[in-house]
Symmetry: C2
Subunit: 237 residues, 2 copies
């Protein structure tokens, strides 16, 4: 395999990169079991412990799941457990807000200053721009402006642009960390209309950047949210 040659990066991370590549390329499908630890270790020419460490790492990243006695399988990013990974809004019962999503105004253009800053793009890179409206029980509660680096999402059509997790999956992009800035503001005229609230009403602003597992920005979203009677749930360690 010629791993661990000409590289100072730890071997278990090199193995993880190779394994993640297979998942991203669709060589290993979501929900399907992958070969067991021993076979993988043999194939990659590393020890069982090193392979185990790579797999543990990928489990932390939500790329795979491991079940004693059964095996290791590829996680489906669009499954119930991961679909709302980056949507932290819950209803009064603590359940995630699952509902319809509408996408409009999908267009391509050159990145402006703000997009370059938030998506770490340089100069003349292309971006996709679109709007989304999120519904819960058929009532709109969030209006979003979304920006995607065209480099990561070429040949975009208007199917399944609704959720970043599904979009990323279709384009072979594996998602890692996300950071969201929550603040208060006044609703924009356009958002006021879609949310059906008075002009200049106080609103929650959700400014979020989702990164790939390699740390590259994959989506910038600015949401205007009529939060009540729901709440945003933040976890800390």
């Amino acid at each position: 395999m010629a791993l661990h040659s000409f590289s100072t990066r730890p071997l278990y991370l090199q193995v993880r990169d190779k394994l993640a590549e297979r998942i991203a390329a669709g060589q290993w499908k979501p929900g399907k079991f992958i070969p067991n630890e021993s076979d993988l270790a043999r194939e990659f020419g590393v020890s069982l412990g090193t392979m185990r460490r790579a797999l543990d790492f990928m489990q932390e990243e939500h790329l795979i799941a491991r079940r004693p006695g059964r095996g290791t399988f590829v996680n489906d990013p669009a499954s119930d457990g991961l679909l709302n990974r980056f949507s932290k809004i819950c209803d009064a019962d603590g359940k995630p807000l699952i509902g319809r999503v509408e996408t409009t105004n999908l267009i391509e253009g050159r990145a402006n200053k703000a997009e370059c800053l938030r998506l770490q793009l340089s100069g003349q890179d292309a971006v996709w721009r679109m709007c989304r409206t999120r519904f819960y029980k058929e009532q709109a509660f969030m209006h979003e402006e979304v920006f995607l680096p065209a480099k990561l999402f070429p040949n975009m059509d208007d199917r399944s642009t609704n959720r970043i997790v599904a979009l990323a999956q279709q384009h072979g992009v594996l998602l890692g960390e996300a950071h969201e800035r929550i603040s208060m503001g006044e609703v924009s005229p356009q958002a006021a209309e879609t949310l059906d609230i008075g002009k200049g009403s106080p609103i929650i602003l959700l400014d979020r950047v989702v990164h790939t597992i390699n740390g590259q920005p994959a989506e910038w979203r600015v949401g205007q949210c009529r939060l009540a009677p729901n709440y945003y749930l933040a976890d800390m360690r």
Copy 2:
């Protein structure tokens, strides 16, 4: 050491429990180096790998930090890096809001229904109640109501009640996860006065429960926050 006897709990977790106990008891002081891996493994009668796993686990929990070539030392929960672990509000530059904190109205009482629910108390447990006001650049931006289980914090005086991290450290309580519910509401009359804003103004509500490393609720806080021009930063994986 009679570890791993009469217990199905993994050995490395039993070791972690023992080590955490020493830190909680003050036997190992914050900022001080602890014995090296080999000596600890020998002392506890476990292999180097098992001790390493226990230490890795504790590093994830922010209990210790490890430096190649130097050693392993106990983290100070009140140090710069950890002081704002549960305070996710940043100023426009992304820096955490560090400022004065005032505590008032410290009293003890029996837990009411809401306190029982949020702090997982039963029946007749005692709680401490207090109010806090947080300042940034000498301007009040958050009014808090705080509830603590008296079981974890006996003999409370009014020194250093300002921050849960300092309070926990003084009482030998090690903190783990926290969960915060963020919502919008109208400011209460009392909070409106301390924050110097109009009655009934829209406000950010921060409802947070901090747990010990063993998962036991250690603090319930309900904050009313004049967020602008700052923002709340939520991280996701």
